[in-house]
C-alpha cells in the first residue's frame, strides 16, 4: 500500500517535469504541449490518489538519505503536504490545459509550458519537501521558473520590465530565505520538516538567532505573497498572458502562506517576526481591498484583490490560525484562477439584462434579512463538529457572518419573485454555510495533527478583526462628503498602473514643416522655448 | 414688417450639409448659444460637387440634411464664423437671412 502511495507521490511531482522536458523537445507543433497537458492531468490524478492513500493509510515518504541516516532530500506525504500537493498539481493541470488552447497562436508557447511546469514541480516540492534544504532550493527554483513564465513573451509591451522587477523582488526575498537556511544549517544542520520533534529540537539549537531566522523567513514569505513594500512586482505581471496570471495567483503567490505554515515551528515563537508579519499583512489587506474597489479594469482589480487576500492569509499565519490559513490558501487559489480564466466574460451584451423587479425592499427588511441570513449560515456552520475547535475559529465565524450579511443585504434589495425563490435562496445560503463548515471541520480535523502548533510569538486571533475594522473605516470615510474626493483620488492614483522606466522618446524632429489634412504645407519655426 | 405685428427680428441660418456633419453642427450650435434647431434629413440637390441624391433608404449619414436655426443677430456672428471654417473643407451651402419670430424667448 505504501509502495503504491510512494509511486503516486513521486509520479505526481515528477510528471510535470517530464512534461516540461517534452514540451521543450517536442518541436514546433503542438504535440509536445498536448502531451505535457495530459501529463499535468496525470499528475493531478496521482496527487489525489496520494491524498486518498494518506487518508486511508497514514503518512509516508520517499527520502534520499545521507550519512548517519539524516535525510538530505525527500518528499513526504502527510495530511498537510498532500493537500497542498493536490492544489498545486490541480492548478498546474488546469493552467496547462487552458494554455493549450489559449496560447495556440503563440510561437513561444513552449517556453511558457516548460517554465510553468517547472513552477508546478518546484511548488510541489516546496509543499512536500522533507527537509529545509529541499524546500529552499525548490522555493528559489519556483521563483526563477515564474520569472521565466512572466518573461516568456518579451515582444509584449511591459513584459521585459515586469520580468526584471519580479526577478529583483524575488531575489530579495529568496536571499532572505537562503540566509535563514544558512543560519539554521549553522546551528541545526538540515532540519527535518516532518517530525514535530525534530523541528522543536532544531528551534532549540538555533537559540538566540531564532528571532533573526524567523524575521528572514517572514520577509521571504511577504515578498512571495506580494505584501506591503515587497509587493510592487505584482501589478506589472498583468503584461503577461492570462494563463501566467492564473498560475501566479493560484500557485505561486500563496507560497508565502505555505512557507509560514510548513516552517511554523521555526517562526511562531518570535514575537518580533509575527508582529512584523501581521502589521504588514493586515495593512496590505486593508489598503489593497480598498484599492480594488476603484480599479476600472477587471484584471487590475483581481490583482489588488489577491494582495488583500494574501494579506489575510499571512495575518492568519501570524496569529497562529494555520488551519484557517491553509483553507484560505486553497480556496482562494481556485477562486482567483477561475476569475482570471473567465476575465474575458465581463462585456455585457445588450438586451439580456432582465427588467428589475418593480418593488424595492425597505432598509428594515433588508437589514432583517441580512441579519437572519448571517445568523442562519453561521449557526449551521457552528453546529458542524470541529469548526470551532481550531485556533481563530470564532473570529472566522465573525468574518463569515459579515460575508453572509453582505450577501443577504445585496440579495434582498428587491423582494424575491415568489416564496419558492426566497425559500430556495435561504436553503442555498444555509447549504453554503454548511458546506464551508464541512470543509473547515472535516478538513480541519483530518489535517490538524500535521499542522504546527501556534508558537508563543503568535498574536491573539482576535487581532484579525483589525482588518475588518480598517476596511470598514475606509468604507466609512469614503462616504463622508468632504473626504470623498480626496480619498478616491488617492485610490485611483495609487492603484494606477506603474510607469515603465523612461526611455528617451524615440520620435525625433527631422524638420519643422507642418501640414494640414487638406494638404497645405507651411513652414514654422521650431521654437521649443516658446512656453510662457 | 409692421411693428404692430409684435414680431422680433432675428437671424435665420440654413445649412445644407452631409448628414454626418450633424453631430458637429449641433455641438457648434450649442456652443454659440442657439437653443433649438430643425433638421430635415435626406434632401437632394444639385451643387458644385455634383448631384446629391437625397433619399438613401438605409444611410442617414451620407445623404444631405438641411439644418435651420434661428438666433439673435448678435450671436449669429460667432455661428457664421464657425460655419465658414467648417464649410471651408467640405461641400455644403450656407444661407443667411433676416427673419421675424413671434416668440423671441424661444430663441434667446
Amino acid at each position: 500500500m505504501d509502495m503504491v502511495g510512494e509511486l503516486c507521490l513521486v509520479g505526481a511531482v515528477l510528471a510535470p517535469l517530464v512534461g516540461s522536458g517534452i514540451s521543450i523537445v517536442g518541436g514546433g507543433s503542438d504535440r509536445g504541449r498536448r502531451i505535457a497537458a495530459k501529463l499535468g492531468w496525470l499528475s493531478a490524478v496521482l496527487a489525489i490518489t496520494t491524498a486518498v492513500s494518506v487518508a486511508l493509510g497514514g503518512s509516508f515518504g520517499v527520502t534520499l538519505e545521507g550519512l548517519y541516516g539524516r535525510p538530505i532530500l525527500g518528499l513526504f506525504a502527510d495530511q498537510l503536504t498532500v493537500t497542498l500537493l493536490v492544489l498545486v498539481c490541480g492548478v498546474g493541470a488546469v493552467v496547462q490545459s487552458f494554455a493549450l488552447r489559449y496560447l495556440l497562436m503563440d510561437r513561444r508557447a513552449r517556453r511558457f509550458c516548460a517554465a510553468a511546469n517547472v513552477v508546478v514541480v518546484a511548488m510541489a516540492v516546496v509543499s512536500t519537501s522533507t527537509t529545509a534544504a529541499g524546500l529552499v532550493v525548490a522555493w528559489v527554483a519556483a521563483g526563477i521558473g515564474f520569472v521565466v513564465v512572466v518573461g516568456a513573451r518579451p515582444d509584449l509591451p511591459g513584459v521585459r520590465w515586469s520580468a526584471q522587477r519580479t526577478l529583483e523582488m524575488f531575489a530579495l526575498g529568496d536571499l532572505a530565505l537562503v540566509a535563514a537556511l544558512a543560519l539554521i544549517w549553522m546551528r541545526a544542520g538540515n532540519v527535518d520538516l516532518i517530525s514535530a520533534g525534530a523541528m522543536r529540537l532544531a528551534a532549540g539549537r538555533i537559540g538566540g538567532l531564532s528571532g533573526v531566522v524567523a524575521l528572514l523567513i517572514v520577509i521571504a514569505a511577504l515578498t512571495r505573497s506580494a505584501q506591503g513594500p515587497f509587493g510592487r512586482w505584482l501589478p506589472g505581471t498583468l503584461s503577461a498572458p492570462t494563463p501566467a496570471s492564473a498560475l501566479l495567483h493560484a500557485g505561486v503567490v500563496n507560497g508565502g502562506g505555505i512557507l509560514l505554515i510548513r516552517l511554523g515551528a521555526l517562526t511562531g515563537d518570535s514575537m518580533l517576526a509575527m508582529v512584523a508579519a501581521f502589521a504588514v499583512a493586515a495593512g496590505t489587506a486593508t489598503v489593497a481591498t480598498a484599492l480594488m474597489t476603484r480599479k476600472p479594469d477587471i484584471k487590475g482589480a483581481l490583482v489588488f484583490s489577491t494582495m488583500g487576500q494574501m494579506g489575510f492569509m499571512i495575518a492568519e499565519c501570524a496569529v497562529g490560525a494555520y488551519l484557517a490559513a491553509l483553507v484560505h490558501l486553497v480556496g482562494h487559489g481556485m477562486y482567483k484562477a477561475t476569475l482570471f480564466f473567465g476575465s474575458g466574460s465581463q462585456v455585457p451584451r445588450l438586451g439580456q439584462a432582465p427588467t428589475a423587479p418593480v418593488n424595492v425592499n425597505s432598509r428594515l427588511t433588508r437589514t432583517f434579512a441580512a441579519v437572519t441570513t448571517a445568523a442562519g449560515a453561521v449557526g449551521v456552520m457552528a453546529l458542524i463538529p470541529g469548526v470551532l475547535y481550531h485556533r481563530g475559529g470564532f473570529v472566522l465565524l465573525i468574518f463569515t457572518a459579515a460575508t453572509a450579511m453582505t450577501a443577504g443585504w445585496a440579495w434582498w434589495d428587491r423582494p424575491p419573485g415568489s416564496i419558492r425563490m426566497a425559500a430556495v435562496w435561504v436553503a442555498l445560503m444555509l447549504a453554503a454555510g454548511a458546506l464551508y463548515g464541512l470543509v473547515l471541520g472535516a478538513l480541519g480535523s483530518w489535517i490538524d495533527p500535521a499542522l504546527p502548533v501556534a508558537g508563543v510569538g503568535t498574536l491573539n486571533p482576535w487581532w484579525l478583526l483589525s482588518m475588518a475594522a480598517g476596511g470598514l473605516a475606509i468604507a466609512g470615510l469614503v462616504r463622508i462628503a468632504g473626504m470623498q474626493r480626496r480619498l478616491v483620488a488617492v485610490l485611483v492614483t495609487v492603484g494606477a498602473p506603474p510607469a515603465p522606466p523612461g526611455r528617451r522618446n524615440p520620435t525625433g524632429p527631422r524638420d519643422s514643416r507642418i501640414a494640414t489634412p487638406s494638404g497645405v504645407t507651411r513652414s514654422a519655426n521650431l521654437s521649443t522655448e516658446s512656453a510662457r | 414688417m409692421d411693428e404692430t405685428w409684435a414680431l422680433t427680428k432675428m437671424t435665420r441660418v440654413e445649412v445644407v450639409v452631409g448628414g454626418e456633419e450633424i453631430p458637429v453642427l449641433t455641438e457648434l450650435l450649442s456652443e454659440v448659444g442657439a437653443i433649438g434647431f430643425t433638421v430635415v434629413s435626406n434632401v437632394s440637390g444639385l451643387g458644385h460637387s455634383g448631384y446629391h441624391q437625397g433619399r438613401l433608404l438605409f444611410n442617414d449619414r451620407n445623404a444631405l440634411s438641411l439644418i435651420t436655426v434661428v438666433l439673435p443677430a448678435d450671436r449669429a456672428g460667432a455661428l457664421l464664423d464657425g460655419l465658414r471654417s467648417l464649410l471651408a473643407h467640405r461641400s455644403g451651402v450656407l444661407l443667411v437671412s433676416d427673419t421675424w419670430v413671434s416668440r423671441p424667448e424661444y430663441f434667446q
Binding site: V492, N505 | L86
Partner: protein, 839 residues
C-alpha cells in the same frame, strides 16, 4: 475678450477639433463592436493620400509589408503577369510628392531634444482618469462630463504636485470651466500658432487612438440619449492639453533654472542624432525579389518605394480579382424546377458557405440580403431592460418592436422573468460581496471550493459543461414562446410602413414573384465563450448584434394578411400558401435554429422538418470545410470540433469570422451559383429587371456595400498595421469598464480587431486587399447611381473600393478606372500572352 470674440474663438476651435479628429477611427463599446474603416472621415482624399497623411500623423505603414508580398510571389499568389498588369495600370504621374515629415506635438519634440518624459506622463495620467471616469468611479454627479469631473478631482490628486509642481497645480485648478477655453489657453502656452493648431490637435489625438476613438464615438456617433459617462472629444483634448501645458511649463522652468537656454542647446546638437527605427518608419521596405524578369525588375526599381508598394498591392488584388471574375464567367445553370424552399441569408461572407452547401442538398433557392432585412428597428427583447438598435450604424432606427409572450397564460412568462431576475440578483450579490469591505475574504474561500472543480470541468469538457449550464439556466428560467411585433401606438410601424419596408426588401433582392411555399429569413450570430470580441463575430448589419430578432420581425410582417394585400396593390403578390419563417445561423457551430415554430401552420410543419434536416446536413458539410482551416482542429471530428470551440472558454480562435473577405457581389444568384467562393465574398442578391430606376441598386451600394467596405477596411488595416491599428494579442487583454480593452495593466484602449482574428501563428491569415465590388446591372444605371451619390464617387474614384461590372450574365466584365472610365477585363495571364505574341 468680448463675449462675441470668445464665442467665435470657441466656434473656430470646435471646427479645428473636427478637422483634427478626422483621422481618428470611432471606437464603439465592445458590447456592439463595429468594424469601421479607420480613415472613413478622410475618404474625400484618395486611398493613397489618406494613407500618406496617416503615415505622418499616426505613424502607420498603411500597406502590406514587403515580406508579405515576397511570400506571395514565392507561393504564386502574385505572378509576373499580375505585376505587369498592375504596372500598366499604374498612373505614371506620381501623386504630388507629399511631405515625408512626421507630424509631432510640441512636447514630443521637446522630449526628444531634452530627454524629458512629458508625453509619456501625460498619457499615463490621462489614461488613468479616462478609465476611472468611464468606470464611473469618480465621485462626481452622474451627468457630469469628463473635463468637469477631472477639474473637480485634480486638486485632490496626490501625484499632481510631484508632476507639475505647486504652481502648476494651482494653475490647473484655475483652468476655465469651459473646455474650449482651456484648450485655447493651453495651446497658447505651448506656443502653437493658430495655423498649426489642427496638426497639433491631430497628433494629440493620434498619440492615444483608443481613448480618442472612444471620445470620437461618443461625440459623433453615439445617439444623444445614449446612457453612460460622456467622454467628449473636446473634454478629452482639454484634459490632455492641460497636462501637456503644465508639464511643458514645469520642464522649461526647470531647465531655465539650470542656466541653459534651449536654443543654445539646439545649436550645439551633434550631427547624426542616433536614428531610431521609428524615425525611419516612413520609408517602408522595398520588396526584393531576385528572379523577376529584368525589365519588370528595372521598372519596379525605378519607382519610389511607395509607388512600387502600390504596384505590388494592385498585383496582389488583381490576382484575386482575376480568379474571381474568371470563376464568375463560367456559365452556370439554375435548376428549372421550382424550389421547395427559398432561403434569404445575410450578406455576411460566412453565409456563402452555408448557401453553397444547402443548394446541393436539396432544391433550394438562396438569396442574400443585409441581415437587418430592411427593418431599422429599436427592439426590446422580452423582459429586457434595454433596447437594441438592430440596424447598421449608418442608420437611426425609425421604429420600435417588442417581443411579447404569446402563450395562453402569463404564468410561464412571469416565471421566466423571475428566473432571470434571480440569476441577475445572484450575480449582483456575488459582485457586491466581492467588493465590500469585510466580505471578500471568506467569500473567496467558500466560493473557491466550488469554483475550482467548476473550472476544471469547464476546461476538460467544455461542450458538456455548456450543455449542463444551459440546462440549469433553462430550469431556472424556462423559455416561453414569444412573437415579435410592432405596436403602432408608440413608435411602431403602421401598416403602410410595414408594407413599404417589405416591398423594399423584396425588390432590392429581386424576390418579387415565384414564391416558394416556404421562405426562410435567416439572420446570424455567433456563440463564443469568454470572448470580449464576441460582438465582432455577430451581424454588422444589425449593429453588432445577433440577427434573429430582425428575421423574426421581418417574417412576422411578411406573413400578415394586411401586408400582403398592400404588397399586392403594389404589384408583388405573395401566394397564400407561402409562409415566411425566421431562423438564425450560428456561425461558430453552423447550426441554424428556426424560431417561432408555434406560428407555422400545420400544413407546413413537414416542410420545416425537411428544411431543418437539410440545414443540418449543410451544416455538417460546412463544418468539415471550415475545420480544415481552423488552427489546431486537425485530426478531430469537425462537427465536434466546432461545437467544442464554440463552448470552450480557453479558445481564442473559435472561428475565423470574416477573415479573408475580398469581394462584394451585387448580382442575382445565377451569377454566382456553383462557384466555390471559399466564404470570401459578401453576396447581395439583386435583379436589375425589377429595378428600372436604380433605387434598389443605390440602396445596396450606399448601405450594405458601405458596411462591407468598412469590414474589409478594418480587416485590411488591422492586418497591415497590427501594432497601431489592431487590438493586439488577445491573451493579454484586460477589460476596462465593460466597454473597452487595454493590453496588460493599463494605458490606451485598443482599436481594431485582435491578432487572433487575422493571423495564424505569425503569418497573415487574412489577405489584406481592398474590397472588390462586383455588380451585375446595366451600365448606364450603375453610372447614374454612382454619379448622384458623392459617397460612391469618393469610394470608387479614390480607390478605396474597386469596381467591376457587367450588364448581364452574358456580358464581359469591365473594370472601372478612378477617372470614371471603364476598361474591359481580361485575366492577367491572357494579357501577357497577348503582349508576348505581339511583341
Amino acid at each position: 475678450m468680448s463675449d462675441r470674440e470668445l464665442r467665435t474663438a470657441r466656434a473656430r476651435l470646435l471646427v479645428e477639433v473636427e478637422e483634427a479628429a478626422r483621422l481618428i477611427a470611432p471606437l464603439w463599446p465592445l458590447s456592439t463592436f463595429i468594424a469601421v474603416n479607420p480613415f472613413w472621415d478622410l475618404r474625400q482624399m484618395s486611398f493613397a493620400e489618406a494613407i500618406a497623411y496617416a503615415v505622418r500623423v499616426l505613424g502607420i505603414s498603411g500597406y502590406p509589408s514587403a515580406t508579405l508580398f515576397a511570400e506571395a510571389y514565392r507561393s504564386g499568389r502574385i505572378t509576373v503577369a499580375d505585376l505587369r498588369v498592375a504596372l500598366e495600370a499604374h498612373p505614371t504621374a506620381e501623386d504630388g510628392k507629399g511631405s515625408d515629415v512626421k507630424i509631432l506635438t510640441a512636447t514630443e519634440r521637446y522630449d526628444f531634444v531634452y530627454g524629458t518624459r512629458i508625453a509619456a506622463t501625460t498619457e499615463r495620467e490621462v489614461a488613468k482618469w479616462s478609465a476611472a471616469f468611464l468606470a464611473k468611479m469618480l465621485p462626481v454627479p452622474p451627468d457630469s462630463g469628463f473635463y468637469a469631473a477631472w477639474l473637480a478631482m485634480i486638486p485632490s490628486d496626490p501625484a499632481i504636485r510631484r508632476i507639475v509642481g505647486r504652481s502648476g497645480r494651482d494653475r490647473l485648478a484655475q483652468l476655465s470651466v469651459q473646455p474650449e477655453d482651456a484648450i485655447l489657453s493651453c495651446l497658447e502656452r505651448l506656443g502653437i500658432a493658430e495655423e498649426d493648431r489642427v496638426s497639433e490637435l491631430a497628433r494629440q489625438l493620434a498619440r492615444m487612438p483608443g481613448w480618442a476613438g472612444h471620445a470620437k464615438w461618443r461625440s459623433r456617433w453615439a445617439p444623444p440619449g445614449q446612457p453612460g459617462p460622456t467622454l467628449h472629444l473636446v473634454d478629452y483634448l482639454a484634459v490632455r492639453l492641460g497636462y501637456e501645458a503644465e508639464l511643458f511649463s514645469a520642464a522649461v522652468a526647470g531647465r531655465g533654472r539650470m542656466g541653459r537656454s534651449a536654443s543654445g542647446y539646439l545649436r550645439g546638437q551633434p550631427h547624426g542624432v542616433s536614428r531610431h527605427p521609428d524615425v525611419d518608419r516612413i520609408e517602408a521596405g522595398r520588396v526584393q525579389i531576385e528572379d523577376l524578369p529584368s525589365d519588370l525588375g528595372d521598372e519596379l526599381s525605378g519607382l519610389s518605394v511607395i509607388e512600387s508598394t502600390k504596384v505590388w498591392l494592385a498585383a496582389y488584388e488583381g490576382h484575386y480579382r482575376d480568379q474571381l471574375l474568371d470563376a464568375l464567367s463560367r456559365p452556370a445553370s439554375l435548376s428549372t424546377e421550382p424550389p421547395a424552399v427559398q432561403a434569404v441569408f445575410c450578406i455576411d461572407v460566412r453565409s456563402e458557405g452555408l448557401r453553397r452547401h444547402l443548394e446541393v442538398v436539396g432544391s433550394y433557392e438562396t438569396f442574400g440580403f443585409a441581415g437587418f432585412f430592411a427593418l431599422p428597428i429599436r427592439h426590446q427583447p422580452w423582459g429586457s431592460a434595454e433596447e437594441i438598435d438592430l440596424c447598421p450604424v449608418l442608420l437611426h432606427p425609425s421604429s420600435e418592436t417588442a417581443e411579447r409572450p404569446c402563450g395562453e397564460t402569463d404564468v410561464a412568462a412571469s416565471r421566466q422573468l423571475r428566473g432571470r431576475q434571480a440569476q441577475v440578483g445572484a450575480r449582483m450579490m456575488f459582485d457586491t460581496a466581492r467588493k465590500a469591505a469585510v466580505s471578500p475574504y471568506i467569500l473567496a474561500e467558500a466560493a473557491g471550493f466550488l469554483a475550482g472543480p467548476m473550472a476544471a470541468a469547464k476546461t476538460l469538457f467544455p461542450a458538456l459543461y455548456l450543455k449542463l449550464r444551459s440546462r440549469v439556466r433553462t430550469m431556472l428560467a424556462p423559455p416561453v414562446a414569444t412573437v415579435i411585433e410592432t405596436h403602432p401606438r408608440d413608435g411602431g410601424m403602421s401598416d403602410e410602413e410595414q408594407a413599404l419596408f417589405a416591398e423594399t426588401a423584396l425588390i432590392t433582392m429581386g424576390l418579387t414573384r415565384d414564391f416558394a411555399p416556404l421562405v426562410l429569413l435567416c439572420g446570424h450570430g455567433s456563440t463564443t465563450e469568454n470572448n470580449p470580441y464576441a460582438s465582432s463575430l455577430d451581424c454588422g448589419a444589425c449593429g453588432g448584434n445577433r440577427g434573429g430578432a430582425s428575421a423574426r420581425a421581418a417574417a412576422w410582417i411578411l406573413n400578415r394578411a394586411t401586408t400582403r394585400d398592400l404588397l399586392a396593390q403594389r404589384g408583388i403578390s405573395i401566394p397564400e400558401e407561402t409562409v415566411f419563417i425566421a431562423g438564425e445561423h450560428d456561425t461558430a457551430t453552423d447550426r441554424v435554429i428556426i424560431f417561432d415554430l408555434h406560428l407555422v401552420p400545420f400544413t407546413h410543419r413537414d416542410g420545416v422538418a425537411v428544411l431543418e434536416a437539410d440545414l443540418e446536413r449543410a451544416a455538417v458539410a460546412l463544418a468539415k470545410e471550415r475545420a480544415r482551416l481552423l488552427p489546431g482542429a486537425k485530426g478531430h471530428d469537425p462537427v465536434a470540433q466546432v461545437t467544442t470551440r464554440s463552448a470552450d472558454w480557453a479558445q481564442v480562435q473559435p472561428e475565423w469570422g470574416l477573415a479573408r473577405n475580398g469581394a462584394f457581389i451585387v448580382a442575382p444568384r445565377s451569377a454566382t451559383i456553383g462557384a466555390d467562393l471559399e466564404c470570401r465574398c459578401f453576396l447581395h442578391s439583386y435583379d436589375a429587371a425589377v429595378d428600372p430606376d436604380g433605387v434598389a441598386l443605390e440602396t445596396i451600394l450606399t448601405a450594405p456595400m458601405v458596411v462591407g467596405h468598412w469590414i474589409n477596411a478594418q480587416y485590411y488595416f488591422s492586418t497591415v498595421d497590427p501594432d497601431l491599428l489592431s487590438a493586439g494579442d488577445k491573451t493579454v487583454h484586460n477589460i476596462v469598464a465593460g466597454t473597452g480593452v487595454v493590453a496588460g495593466a493599463g494605458g490606451d484602449l485598443k482599436v481594431g480587431l485582435p491578432l487572433q482574428s487575422l493571423f495564424e501563428s505569425d503569418r497573415e491569415y487574412h489577405e489584406p486587399m481592398r474590397l472588390l465590388t462586383i455588380v451585375q446591372a446595366p451600365q448606364d444605371l450603375l453610372v447614374t447611381v454612382i454619379d448622384r451619390n458623392p459617397v460612391l464617387r469618393e469610394l470608387f474614384d479614390g480607390q478605396w473600393v474597386h469596381l467591376a461590372a457587367r450588364d448581364d450574365q452574358l456580358d464581359n466584365w469591365k473594370i472601372r478606372r478612378p477617372d470614371g472610365t471603364w476598361a474591359r477585363w481580361s485575366p492577367a495571364a491572357t494579357y501577357t500572352e497577348e503582349v508576348t505574341t505581339h511583341g
